[in-house]
Amino acid sequence: MKDVELKMLERAKALLQSGEVARVIGWKKGEFCYDPAPASFESVEEMENGFVYNWFCGANLSKYLIQMAKKEGKTAVFLKPCDTYSFNQLVKEHRINRENVYVIAVECLAKLDVEKMKAKGVSFITDVEVVDKDVKVTTAYGVETLYKPDVVLSKCAVCTKTHQVKDEEIILHERPEREVNRFEEVEKLEAMTEDERFAFWREQLSKCIRCNACRNVCPACSCVKCVFDNPASGIAAKANDDKFEEQLFHIIRAFHVSGRCTDCGECSRVCPQNIPLHLLNRKFIKDIDTLYGEYQAGEESEGKTPLTTYTEGDTEPNDVFNGEAK
């Protein structure tokens, strides 16, 4: 991973130095190795002092481009495979001007979830090294080895995404190909009874504190002003003192991003209450795939989404349950 980081640093500095780009969007070191944060670097010095790319750089940087790409000069950005789908979707929706952005595709062999690591009893982490499926964690107390599939971010566990956009790439290690079923968890829920599902979601959504982290991080939730803040919508948030408000919020949010959600998984990653929000979006994705043919948002940067098109023989809503036509 260090080799990748060095290469990225080198390229970013060269781009800044030559004036080809005015800024670079990347990740900045945090207090610990596991809390890097998205940041914009405008000089070689800033890069040298703060840039980092490690196993905890899970954040999707594409959404930052909505603002950044409007600034003077070109903006370079590091995009992992999953991030490029969001990028394309934003280009499709005219939120990013493609010409103003220089995309550096960077490799990703999955990112780690520090919460999952802590849950395994590892604390005071100072460094992490990954060899194949072994995560060697250096802590204040010594070195511990964790099984990688146990501690990767949920979104990485089922990821098979590949770069959709790039002006150049930095890929030093190939990711092995694999077969995964990202709908497994959705299918589990579908197999439950209505009562069980209701109980599941009530429990999950009751945890919601309406911090809006999911909305803020979501690259599909890129509205200039959110519908929940729109007094003319009739659903502008009222006092959040009823459980229904949470349900309403999450149902409407999921519907609004349906056909546009690239399944980047950021919503679940940032949720402080660990609500598996991606399972809401993934249900829409699964239904769209089943009913209207496979569709991956962000695979292309123009065209219509499944909800802005139709065929004359589409399935009737009364016949659709659990994603299957009767």
């Binding site: 209505e194 009562d195 599902r197 659903i235 519907f255 009913l291 065929t311 589409d314 659709v320």
Partner: protein
Amino acid sequence: MQEVTEKKEFTPTIVAFCCNWCSYAGADLAGSSRLTYPANVKIIRVPCSCRVNPMFVLKAFQQGADGVILCGCHPGDCHYVTGNYYTRRRMALLYSFLNYMGIEKERTRLEWVSAAEGARFSAVMNDFVKQVAELGENKRLTDLRVKEGE
């Protein structure tokens, strides 16, 4: 004895969104043909079924509706050419999603009713009311404050 059962009988609140050109006219025809359906069905007129935002459906449930039915022109007959095709996709996904959240699938319905199908309008409403009545009160998508307030 009979009085007691009558009092206990649950009459669901049903919100029916009807497009102006087909279904609302179908409901008018049901009326002029004196084809009855329960009084707890209340119709909201919209220009096209595609005007119905999922938020309206949720709002209805939030406010205590027990069932929501959406009626539009038959596919291919939309006054606005393609409106109901979008409706069909939106509602297919919404209904499936609500069920995924644990909302009884019998509470949502979409029917195509033409201006000539007064009898069908009445039959659909009778059927839907019966279906929702059997299910009982909507508790899962209700905002409790709304009920307490009144």
